[in-house]
């Protein structure tokens, strides 16, 4: 499973970076910064639950989990 970021919707609220600090850093403007440098960072099995929560709770609906 991978995390897809809709950059046209994201406005850097930062909730995802709080729920998924292992996957996402924040850049100097507050936007999520995948730590592995991938456009769609892979979600390890152990982070399934917080990844789903991040996608569901993003106030801009800018996150989704893709196969």
């Amino acid at each position: 499973m991978k995390l897809h970021i809709d950059w046209t919707a994201c406005d850097g609220r930062g909730l995802c970076t709080e729920l998924l600090p292992e996957l996402l850093d924040r850049d100097e403007w507050g936007y999520p910064l995948p730590r592995d440098g991938n456009p769609e960072p892979a979600v390890p099995a152990g982070l399934d639950a917080p990844a789903r929560r991040a996608a569901a709770q993003c106030p801009r609906l800018a996150l989704r989990l893709v196969p």
């Binding site: 950059w7 994201c10 403007w29 507050g30 440098g37």
Partner: protein, 399 residues
Amino acid sequence: MTATLHVRRVLAAGPADLAGHAGRHGPLPWRGGRGLLIPTVEAAGLTGRGGAGFPTARKLAAVAAGRRPVVVGNGAEGEPASGKDLALLTGNPHLVLDGLQLAAEAVGAARGHLYAPAGAVPRLRAALAERPGWDRVPVELVEAPDTFVAGEESAVVARVEGHAALPRDTPRRVVEHGVRGVPTLVQNVETLAHLALLARYGPGWFREQGTADEPGTFLATVSGAVAAPGVYEAPYGVPLGELLGQAAGPTAPLQAVLVGGYHGAWLRPDTALPVSRAGLRPYGASPGAGVLVALPTSACGLVESARIAGYLAGQGAGQCGPCVNGLPRLADTLDRLARRDTDPGLPAEARRLSALVTNRGACHHPDGTARLVLSSLSTFDHEVRLHLAGACTAGRSAR
């Protein structure tokens, strides 16, 4: 310069009305059903001429596998240094329209769209008016705005749907989920013109030009310090010097050539360098959409790169945070270097910002801008050192 026998396929001269076109190339070579042309395209090895160089047969097959697909000929050319699509659309419109029809048949589309800049619309409208009885699917003409990102695949889809020509988030590929959710073939108009020729004359003919891995010809827009800037046709693998020679050669000693356009890379002007994906890959470059800009030794590569980066920063769609914030910062950093600000941290900051914006947008505008900046720092590294010392090889005062 070298006396070359110039190949002219898609740029063929002569009467451009339908009668003249039909007299030269004969009727449309219909294949009689969905998918039937695809093996021919695969055998020819045709790739997209819009910049990415993706194998056309694979794209056709992906779209043909879906339900109720549509085809879009993409003639948007927001790249300021490119003029080849406009030259083709106005000089040989029927070849493009033939290619659109054949692509529609190949994927099983019942309708097509031609997305073209305002300058080509009257000519295309006249060409379409000649084609009742020649075409099998209706073609709608859609005007493309003159912005840099308007030709990006998802922006094309948005415009064809009647929205602003802005890139979109595409969790699903356009070949599966494009115009109003149906599978969509967005194909550069030059690719369609080559398709119309190879469908008639076959893969063997198509492969008479170019290299074994990159067959065929491409249109190049050559500008900058050359005697006859313009659009020229050449086989893939053509030596750089020969391509510049088609434009009547350099007007001054050159220090670099921008290859692949504003999202491309600066190369040293090695006249023997083969212009092909394989030939340019070692330098982190690609022919892209065939844009070449010759830079004379009298100009400063950093000043020119900063001008381009500033332009690109202003051409963002304003949708994605890293692009909105990062590109102006990146352009400003390069501009400070170009203006001989002697802060020694500037090159590292430009590299950091380039990495920061890459892969973080709905389209590749930030990635391409970062590529141009990184290429300018490495190709003009000597200039970078001089500027940090307050000097410049071009010998001009700071802007």
